[in-house]
Amino acid sequence: MLAEMPVISRDPMQPAGCRVTHVKKETHDTWTLDVTPPDKHWRFQPGQFSMLYVFGVGELPISISGDPQHPSKQTYTVRAVGMATRRLVSLKPKDWLGVRGPFGNGWPVEQARGKDVVLVAGGIGLAPLRPVIYHILAHRADYGRLILLYGARSPRDIIYTAELKAWAKLPQTEILTTVDYGGLSWRGNVGVVTSLFRRIALNPLRTVGMICGPEIMMSYAAREFEQKGVSRHDIYLSMERNMKCGIGLCGHCQHGPNFVCKDGPVFTYSSLERWIYKREI
């Protein structure tokens, strides 16, 4: 842990020193970290991400999973699967972290006003969608039904369990969860997340779909939306590529004609369709 960090930089390539304030264990391999914002003007849009620099280890792009109405803290949910993420989740309150961002375009929460919003999340893909839920709940009258279809690997991999239960009790809100592998004691759904589409009725003309998860899951979910009559222009996917600079300079995250970090990470299915099934991209 470093003793003292110089604060704030608005240079997008220079990390700002921020302190971890709270760490919460979500599952056996996933943690949520609250971090001080780089300055009092810090804001983010649901769906944006930051580059988090674990000193001496490396920098990695992490989606912001907190409440955009309360930018007094940055929140990141991280699954520990590699060296950098393991070090990231082992940080303790008062430890320092380098932060660049927020970057990217975010989910179309403004375009979705007046419509039903259907979120489809796979695994830790729920984290980048959680700010959308917070946003809708904070502006409830501006939106129609809120439906979350969430697939996890197993019951022990479900994140935000307390919030899922609380959201499910809210009016005009449906939370459907499924797991790929359920033990005999699991009382909920077993099956892939796309199987949950059978459980919901949609008005395709007033539905906006937002999908986040592994790319193959997103393509299947997008097809499910299409089969229900939702326009490709109203289906949004959050893409993942090897983001490094975060501002469209380095080219590492190029996907077809786009840089995912700058032009995305959220794209309409109509704009992605030409590229998402190309193996070479």
Partner: protein, 163 residues
């Protein structure tokens, strides 16, 4: 419930949506209503498969028993779903267990009776097989996606969040 009362129930079930009335009437002769208590098996792996179920209410878990490992829950089915196509394919044996997770109401359709009717009424056979082919395609796709273990590997997830 009288057998004749099952026609509207069959017509309203998602699996049979759009089936011509004359075919629904044919199915009624092979249909009966059943309730299952929580924990009761609708079918057992290895046993003769002479029926299939149209689920009306409750949750059914499709399970596979692995020797020395116990049961694995593969899928859950609910209202509007159909359970079982082993009655269509010789040797007409269940390949999985199906157990009521909650109290379940279902329409039971006699497979042997239906096979006989499909032999003499090809149009009915076509309608039924088209519906089962769709279900099989959906379940095969789901099974393939499950095999990928999308959320489990180190390179999966949001690799954005996984390095």
């Amino acid at each position: 419930m009288e057998v004749k009362d099952l026609a509207p129930v069959l017509e309203q079930h998602a699996f049979l949506a759009g089936l011509p009335k004359q075919h629904v009437d044919l199915l009624v002769g092979c249909a009966s209503n059943r309730k299952f208590d929580k924990g009761e098996y609708l079918c057992r792996q290895g046993e003769s498969a002479e029926v299939f179920y149209l689920l009306r209410d409750g949750i059914v878990a499709v399970e596979l028993y692995l020797p020395q490992k116990g049961g694995v829950r593969l899928e859950t089915l609910r209202e509007g779903d159909v359970l079982g196509w082993s009655w269509l394919v010789a040797p007409y044996t269940w390949h999985f267990d199906a157990r009521a997770v909650t109290p379940v109401r279902a329409i039971v359709l006699d497979g042997k009776c239906l096979r006989g009717k499909c032999q003499t009424d090809y149009e009915l056979g076509y309608h039924l097989f088209a519906r089962f082919a769709t279900i099989m395609e959906q379940r095969l796709e789901s099974a393939r996606l499950q095999l990928l273990d999308l959320y489990g590997g180190a390179k999966e997830v949001r690799s954005r969040d996984a390095r």
